[in-house]
Symmetry: D5
Subunit: 149 residues, 10 copies
Amino acid sequence: MITSREEVTAMIVAHKVQTNIKWSDVAAAIGLSKEWTTAACLGQMTFTKAQAEQVGEIFGLSDEAIAWLQIVPYKGSLPTAVPTDPLIYRWYEVVNVYGSTIKELIHEEFGDGIMSAIDFSMDIQREENPAGDRVNVVLSGKFLPYKTY
Amino acid sequence: MITSREEVTAMIVAHKVQTNIKWSDVAAAIGLSKEWTTAACLGQMTFTKAQAEQVGEIFGLSDEAIAWLQIVPYKGSLPTAVPTDPLIYRWYEVVNVYGSTIKELIHEEFGDGIMSAIDFSMDIQREENPAGDRVNVVLSGKFLPYKTY
Amino acid sequence: MITSREEVTAMIVAHKVQTNIKWSDVAAAIGLSKEWTTAACLGQMTFTKAQAEQVGEIFGLSDEAIAWLQIVPYKGSLPTAVPTDPLIYRWYEVVNVYGSTIKELIHEEFGDGIMSAIDFSMDIQREENPAGDRVNVVLSGKFLPYKTY
Amino acid sequence: MITSREEVTAMIVAHKVQTNIKWSDVAAAIGLSKEWTTAACLGQMTFTKAQAEQVGEIFGLSDEAIAWLQIVPYKGSLPTAVPTDPLIYRWYEVVNVYGSTIKELIHEEFGDGIMSAIDFSMDIQREENPAGDRVNVVLSGKFLPYKTY
Amino acid sequence: MITSREEVTAMIVAHKVQTNIKWSDVAAAIGLSKEWTTAACLGQMTFTKAQAEQVGEIFGLSDEAIAWLQIVPYKGSLPTAVPTDPLIYRWYEVVNVYGSTIKELIHEEFGDGIMSAIDFSMDIQREENPAGDRVNVVLSGKFLPYKTY
Amino acid sequence: MITSREEVTAMIVAHKVQTNIKWSDVAAAIGLSKEWTTAACLGQMTFTKAQAEQVGEIFGLSDEAIAWLQIVPYKGSLPTAVPTDPLIYRWYEVVNVYGSTIKELIHEEFGDGIMSAIDFSMDIQREENPAGDRVNVVLSGKFLPYKTY
Amino acid sequence: MITSREEVTAMIVAHKVQTNIKWSDVAAAIGLSKEWTTAACLGQMTFTKAQAEQVGEIFGLSDEAIAWLQIVPYKGSLPTAVPTDPLIYRWYEVVNVYGSTIKELIHEEFGDGIMSAIDFSMDIQREENPAGDRVNVVLSGKFLPYKTY
Amino acid sequence: MITSREEVTAMIVAHKVQTNIKWSDVAAAIGLSKEWTTAACLGQMTFTKAQAEQVGEIFGLSDEAIAWLQIVPYKGSLPTAVPTDPLIYRWYEVVNVYGSTIKELIHEEFGDGIMSAIDFSMDIQREENPAGDRVNVVLSGKFLPYKTY
Amino acid sequence: MITSREEVTAMIVAHKVQTNIKWSDVAAAIGLSKEWTTAACLGQMTFTKAQAEQVGEIFGLSDEAIAWLQIVPYKGSLPTAVPTDPLIYRWYEVVNVYGSTIKELIHEEFGDGIMSAIDFSMDIQREENPAGDRVNVVLSGKFLPYKTY
Amino acid sequence: MITSREEVTAMIVAHKVQTNIKWSDVAAAIGLSKEWTTAACLGQMTFTKAQAEQVGEIFGLSDEAIAWLQIVPYKGSLPTAVPTDPLIYRWYEVVNVYGSTIKELIHEEFGDGIMSAIDFSMDIQREENPAGDRVNVVLSGKFLPYKTY
């Protein structure tokens, strides 16, 4: 009996380690971005029935596991509040060092409100650069204003 | 006697509240991006002597305060490990929900290493959109590979 | 020199303690709900110039303080992550005990997404009841769906 | 041997994922609100013998599991003090941002005391709205005054 | 300008240290129990106007301070989540060691619900005992049952 | 192989759930108070050989488990420093809200020292009351004075 | 106005830094051990009137400060739960590494109970040793058994 | 396959519970103090091959387990930073209440430096006393001075 | 099915305990430093296919495990934010006590920026010394300057 | 009145910001390494009388402040357990990622024990390098073995 989405994520990851399939190939197979697809395979998003079945085929999942892929998961992909992994920590550091800057500049442009993390997309690209290649990431979120009532 | 950079940041912010000068105008005055300039005014970056003097003039700072602007600060702009402000929290949430995805995709493209938060720049723009304007942010960091030795 | 919104909040609260003005009267004076008005006076929302001036008059604030009321504040009104005050703790307890229930039922009705805390309003009312009066609170937030991309 | 209510909750959830039965149908079957029923199925409330047997039939539980449903559970449905799941976090954010407001307004109306989280009910409804449907939630709790003695 | 109840509590405590008045005498003066009176003087309860004026006279408080005594305070009297003071820690230890026992026995007698900490009183007495005097404390709280709805 | 007292506690609790035996009946069987007996069955106290054997018979424990009941356990019955269960939280709240009061009144009566949590007993009773039954708890602990040396 | 014992401790420490008086001389002056006397001067113990006056004379304290020395303090002398100072950390390390050993050996000798930290004394001595002098500390605490009831 | 020292510790403890062998007898068998021996059996110290084999014989350990006893363990014997067990907490309380005192007196006698927790021994003894037996503990650690360079 | 790198690390460590192979011999076998090799075997670095196969042979790993060695791991080798093991704590202590010093001196020499922990190497050596051998560690990290943009 | 070493550290730092004196010049003036001298000026080490007077002259300190420099300070130079400043965090990251490696290799070479952080020195140097200059740091600490007793 599978009792959590985490178990299905572990099956997907274990299968991927053995087969070396790329996330971008999985994404191509289901016709979505590599960012959303990876997040969903890692247990952060909800698949439709059709998507879940494709994913199930790719990773050799049982019907029971495929059912779990269609359930809204409890989100949050990190084991500690401050991440210990250096790659992920650098992102936390950006939030820590630039957090007040981001807040000031968005408010200067838009007024009081937030940048949505739900109506949101992300695109990660390699920029070739003779001084060392760069990771370029575009985050795009709808601005949601606070309203008076 | 000024004994910390935080005191200078408070002076800058207090002056800005009363005069309503925009960060982008400050940035234009010293000829740098609004992102770097705001971070520096909020106590996260180090000004050169010339920049510090310009900033000092804009915000009416004393020589003592201007000296502090040229000292490398103790960085970190948030009062708690998990931010309480909704705008900044959404960024923390992105790290939390998408952290493992970001890690997977950067490693898939570049191998083991990190995206630098030091050799790094950020650009925040408004994208007009009939369904509601969007905040678009481009993060660009050099990829730094782990090496064997 | 006023260097933070917290100082203005302290002035408002101290003035209110001495004059015993009611939040609902402040709200009536500026023509908004008592919930939004109180949150704004307690440093969680941003006033327009006109509202700030009215509030300034009610609480006897200086021009410097009135300027601060128009700046987007760093939000978060509680001193600890788990609140110690019994009234506020009961709300935290509701989130803790019913959190998974709320999640299940909203997803059952709407699919994957969240109830916005930004496009959001709150209404607090007394319900007279012979078995003891009740506090009735209506929370209304726009549903924001996660989308694939 | 079943040694905790959490194991029974896991069985219920796993069964629900495979059968796709709705919480509102379970609630209808036992004649109670969907909110209370879901909370109880998720291990936060105590069933009577009759209710436990109905629930056991719906979810295919053993007698041993049905016995556990009638025991008062150790409550608390979230894995961390600050929730990481975005939907549940928004509720925590409301407590954080509006906590002092809620406190002020309840005290203004009722004096010193609390809104009970025990003599309490919750009702979650969809409000159709051309600008995007809304989640409307009514919380109703008895006011309990502090008394002198 | 007094901006918090904590300042008034500090005035009361400082005055008491110099005059050595006993809490039980303060309680007698305002005609309430020593337990409630002490809690109120330490900033945990709300005085009526008449009580506040009596307390103000006893501790030599200004009108501004007396106004604060009539405002519902933000409760919580300990500086850390786990208390460091040995006397108070022993109470925390009782909750820690006997917590599950208290829960079991109250549920065995009353079913699901809680012992109120609001409709609550406490009485602290010395019991003379040749083997060493004992502190006897009676806690009395109304049982509040969880109800189905 | 049983490697911790927690495993034995789980056996006892699981057996109790199935048989519905009451703690007070267990207490009567071994001739001690229901409070001490429950605490001991929940892994907080140490049984003598004779008591352990009686308890073993009641709950159908193996000799290996009975041996564990006679070993001094690592005490502490709560999974988090701040309890999430509403019933137990109310007790933590009492320590938090009344902690400074308890300290003041015990010192006023006894001088510097503590109320023992070791030479300690607890008695939990129902008080019938037309306004709603009450939980009455008597805590009795020896006063232990700090001495100079 | 002095509003806390911490202020008096700060006065004592500041005076000691300037005069270089030794704790052992203070102890000799009031006729008690250097361990108790130091703890009391650092705000952890309660002086009698006579002792407080002697201490006041030694450290040049005002009558107001001397009154505070006779009040039972809120104990706990460290700024963080895990101490950062290397000397004090080594003691925390001993509790961490040897904690389970101490527990086992005291229970092996005495049965269930604790070593009192109230009916307790400490003696710190230098042991001359050619391989490097040693700090020898004797801790002596009354054994307090748990009793059944 | 045994993958951690904790598993070996669990085997030792489980065997001891069933056989009731005393730590002092184990210590006598391997010719070392009861304090070091207990710490080592509880996974805090490293045995030599000869000692490990003796211990293995006493507790009926496999060769695989005996190999683990000879590996330097990851030390730390407590499950939480602030211990919940009353006996061990009393030691933590001593560090908390007397920490600043210990620091002052060691520095007064020895200057800047620490008392080693490595070149360290401990001796736990019962002192018979008509007022109640006492636990006497001698801690002896080499003083290590900070040096300038 | 192996679902995490931690499981492979546990296999390596368990095998090493039984065979007593030295890390320096493993390093020699794959032609890299003992520091990098140990970190990689303990799950902090990524092996190439060739290295993974050599390591697999040394530690008797299955093909499934060898596949995991080539996947970038989630880094972080300590169970708690503040380490409890005395050897590792000393390093944390160095960061705590000397952290501000390291920051000042690197900035004095290089200006604003960091010492990379990615383009980084470490060399641990024994220095024989009549006063007691010393551990000498050389850390070498590229200086990465913050740039303006 | 100066009541803590932190105040003296703030004076030194404020003076340094205005005069731009280098730590290495201060070190040269008192004839010690720049590492020890900086740590001492930042409040982590204890000066002799002669050194304190030299430091006092350099930074224009009062006699009262100079007295504080000769008192052993409460050590620990960071405001949070996990440092937020990127430069210092990288060192924490090294402890986190390489902590288990350092432990393994020191134990492999020396057996059970620690590398002292007291009998310890540090040397920070710039290494010119065409691929980007490097920070080289040599840490040297005496090995202290655990002994049996």
